[in-house]
């Protein structure tokens, strides 16, 4: 007892704790292959001892069943609770008429107040625009996280560099010399981009809007990269351009909405014309906001594709 306390005080470690830490720790600045080899050797040495082998297998078996049991049990419980809960909820709007207050105004006066035929657009970009401002930044945050993870740099490209480049290089999976691919790309790409633009520009009048239209346009960009090769796309769509487009759209979105919030809260008129309902130029701020969101989404989609495929946007890795 006394010696164990002494050991604890001195900062010594239990053997089990030691193994756990050694097993999980990883030296950051060493080649990955070397670390892997070392770990493999250690593991082999360790596993050679038969008793340990048996013990590990037994404990693995036990915990495995325990985990499965707990997982199934908690899922079943959650399903049961949710089903029971739904059965006891009042039927929306029928048994609980007071809940219709907000919805009624959106449906009945939405067109007049927002100028948008598509009430959903009016709701997300006018009544509850603050939530959508957050939502478009969720996408941007995801882009930043993927950039951090996948953009090639000195740290995540340390080991096995040549292999990595060989696999990722355009020659390896390149389809851009394939005649069918090129022809299909040539025919489809303009249609897809045009359709994307249509969806974005008509967000206030029908189903669609920035998020869906942007995704369609992003698909068009991805197709062009696949059909004509990254070299062709890189000539126009550089990292700098992508950053500038994202910045301009997002900051326009934030500042424009900030302006509307500011004017609304202080009781001033914001001087944004509502337009004729049904026309392209209608719905007040909804159209420009949809365009901004659409551009951000398209850039993000293409950025994801490019990062996953080769670890950079727009050709070179700064």
């Amino acid at each position: 007892m006394n010696s164990r306390f002494r050991q604890w005080l001195d900062g010594g470690l239990d053997e089990a704790e030691m193994i756990r830490i050694m097993d999980a720790s990883e030296l950051p600045d060493r080649p990955r292959e070397e670390i892997r080899q070392e770990a493999r050797q250690k593991k082999e040495e360790f596993l050679k001892q038969e008793e340990i082998q048996k013990e590990i297998l037994a404990s693995r078996e036990r915990t495995r069943w325990f985990y499965i049991f707990v997982a199934v049990l908690s899922c079943v419980c959650l399903i049961g609770v949710l089903l029971g809960l739904v059965a006891h909820l009042p039927r929306f709007g029928v048994e609980n008429p007071l809940t219709m207050e907000v919805v009624t105004r959106y449906v009945e006066e939405g067109l007049e107040e927002t100028g948008a035929v598509n009430i959903v657009s009016g709701m997300i970009l006018d009544y509850r625009a603050f939530d959508t401002l957050g939502e478009s930044n969720v996408l941007f945050t995801a882009l930043v996280c993927v950039l951090i993870l996948l953009r090639a740099d000195r740290k995540n490209m340390q080991a096995g560099r040549e292999d990595y480049y060989k696999i990722r290089s355009d020659q390896y999976y390149d389809l851009s010399h394939d005649a069918i691919m090129r022809f299909a790309g040539m025919v489809l790409m303009p249609c897809i981009v045009l359709y994307g633009m249509y969806v974005i520009l008509n967000g206030q009048n029908g189903p669609g809007g920035g998020f869906s239209g942007g995704a369609v346009m992003g698909a068009g960009l991805i197709l062009s990269a696949a059909a004509f090769g990254f070299d062709t796309v890189d000539r126009i769509f550089t990292l700098r351009l992508s950053n500038i487009i994202t910045f301009v759209s997002l900051s326009f979105y934030s500042l424009a909405k900030g302006y509307v919030f500011f004017m609304g809260a202080n009781g001033y008129d914001n001087h944004i014309p509502k337009g004729t309902p049904g026309a392209i130029l209608s719905g007040g701020m909804i159209l420009p906001l949809d365009i901004a969101v659409g551009i951000v989404v398209a850039c993000t989609m293409f950025g994801f594709y490019s990062l996953f495929r080769r670890g950079c946007i727009g050709g070179k890795t700064e």
Binding site: D10, R128, F130, D131, N137, V138, T141, C145, A265
Partner: protein
């Protein structure tokens, strides 16, 4: 209308704008810009605090042309201002003190991305603090989840990626449950804004049959936020997450991110559902028990762990337990203790997380206790700040941790259930003892003579390169955090007064 009323909106919009701007500018410019931005926001929030304090009232701010039940709304009272100000000061200090390690840990080409994430995180923290709308809370909670994953993986070593994956899975589970809770509450009440929702739920709760439905909806939402904030038994993601992140990120995540979730939970309890409805369910009792279990088990794990960062991370789990215990006591006094703990623990934990890496650097970049022997002799400055943090964590009088324990103890005495009184006292006593045990041990270890080389146990280097960068920001930032600790310990009544005032405006 006073111009100051616009400041909460500016804090959110400016931070969102800066998130996009940092993508465009160089790392060096982004560093300076972000520090400037956070300073400006701190000034703005201080002025808002002064405004709400002098006018002795909270104000709501319409986001756009449409009034309350139809459009979004934010709200600022004394309590929101205190929490937002705490958040901003800690962000600023973390950036200043962690700068030395940011330059080492993050690849040069990605540092601007880190600052972009910090700006977005600021926006999310501010929006979650100011929001008067439960769905806005969900949207910015998503941003907070993603940004905290981002500041974790930005170090790009195996361990952080592993920790981030685990953190991400657990957090998404939490977000999903929270969203389910929001949907159920919306289905019940037909509102997303807190005030109308409160009125609708109060009307529904008059029928005793509807209490179980409300309890389950709020319960699902609470589990979601509980997972995200590290309530017992969901704290297992903490040690790897905090232990391996770059110091500034560890400080941001432990001091701010988890607290923002808890503050949102308190806000929903008070302003959206109503405490009188919550008290009819057994949610508070469950939170109380889980809080005490967290206090004890977190401390036990902290005693037995082998590296100093993991010890502090487990101690965070215990400290989160204090907050939930205060909330679970169910009285205003208990809640005052919990809110005091949010502020006090924020200042203390960030100080510790920002100080420990310097001690490790002084003793060969290892975070294992064995290698840390004698680190205090090599780096007197860091050792001094660690001492202040440790004393505050243990709860020595004149440091921020002491009033927390006093307030929580007082509130336990002030309520009627004898079970709660006994459990709270026992929990506080055991947790404080264990706290003292592992912090005193660490202090002794830091001040011992260094052992001869061959006797030192295994290596767990956190960085292989170091030095070369001047540590300019650290002494200043650590001094501010330490001063805040001592101020909260000595003049604890100022904060208690502000919290009471804020809580009075809250309902």
């Amino acid at each position: 209308m006073s111009f100051i009323r616009n400041f909460p909106l500016f804090t959110i919009v400016l931070s969102l704008f800066s998130g996009a701007l940092c993508l465009l500018i160089s790392s060096k410019a982004a560093r300076i810009y972000t520090v400037l931005l956070e300073s400006v926001l701190t000034v703005m929030v201080s002025m808002t605090l002064w405004y709400t304090y002098t006018t002795d009232s909270a104000f709501t701010y319409k986001m756009g042309e449409f009034p309350a039940p139809w459009g979004n709304e934010i709200r600022a009272g004394v309590l929101e201002c205190v929490i937002a100000l705490t958040f901003l000061i800690i962000i600023l200090m973390s950036l200043l003190a962690g700068d030395h390690f940011l330059r080492i840990d993050i690849d040069e080409s990605k540092q601007n991305l880190f600052f972009s994430l910090v700006s977005l995180m600021t926006a999310a923290l501010m929006a979650m603090t100011w929001t008067n709308d439960i769905f806005t809370g969900y949207v910015f909670l998503e941003i907070l989840t993603l940004t905290s994953c981002g500041v974790l993986i930005v170090r790009e070593i195996g361990r952080t990626t592993l920790a981030a994956v685990r953190y991400m899975i657990l957090n998404l589970l939490g977000s999903g449950l929270f969203l389910l809770g929001v949907v159920l509450l919306y289905d019940l009440s037909g509102h997303l804004l807190m005030v109308p929702m409160h009125e609708a739920i109060a009307r529904i709760a008059e029928d005793p049959e509807s209490i179980p439905v409300i309890a389950l909806s709020v319960g699902i939402l609470t589990i979601g936020l509980g997972i995200k904030s590290g309530l017992f038994p969901f704290y297992y993601w903490m040690p790897d997450t905090y232990g391996s992140a770059t110091p500034a990120s560890a400080s941001l995540m432990s001091s701010l991110v988890t607290k923002a979730y808890i503050f949102l939970l308190i806000k929903i309890y008070f302003r959206a559902v109503g405490m009188e409805v919550i008290r009819k369910t057994s949610i508070l009792e469950i939170l109380f028990v889980l809080g005490i279990l967290g206090m004890i088990f977190g401390s036990v794990r902290a005693v037995s762990t082998g590296s100093i960062n993991r010890m502090i991370a487990y101690s965070s789990a215990a400290q989160i337990g204090y907050i939930y215990m205060g909330l679970g006591i169910g009285t205003l006094a208990g809640l005052t203790g919990a809110l005091f703990q949010i502020v006090a623990h924020g200042f203390t934990k960030s100080l510790l997380f920002l100080t420990v890496p310097y001690l490790a650097e002084a003793s060969g970049n290892s975070l294992l206790f064995g290698s840390l022997r004698g680190a205090a002799r090599k780096d007197r400055q860091a050792a001094f700040f660690f001492l202040i943090g440790a004393l505050s964590m243990v709860g020595i009088p004149f440091f921020a941790g002491f009033p927390v324990k006093l307030l929580l103890g007082e509130s336990a005495v002030g309520q009627h259930s004898s079970f709660k009184l006994l459990a709270a006292m026992l929990g506080l006593a055991i947790s404080t003892l264990l706290n003292a045990m592992y912090f005193i041990r660490t202090l002794i270890l830091l001040n011992m003579e260094k052992l001869p080389e061959e006797a030192s146990p295994g290596e767990m280097k956190v960085r292989s390169k170091s030095g070369g960068v001047q540590r300019i920001g650290y002494p200043f930032a650590a001094l501010v955090l330490a001063a805040a600790n001592i101020f909260l310990g000595v003049f604890s009544w100022t904060l208690v007064e502000l919290i009471r005032l804020g809580l009075a405006m809250f309902q």
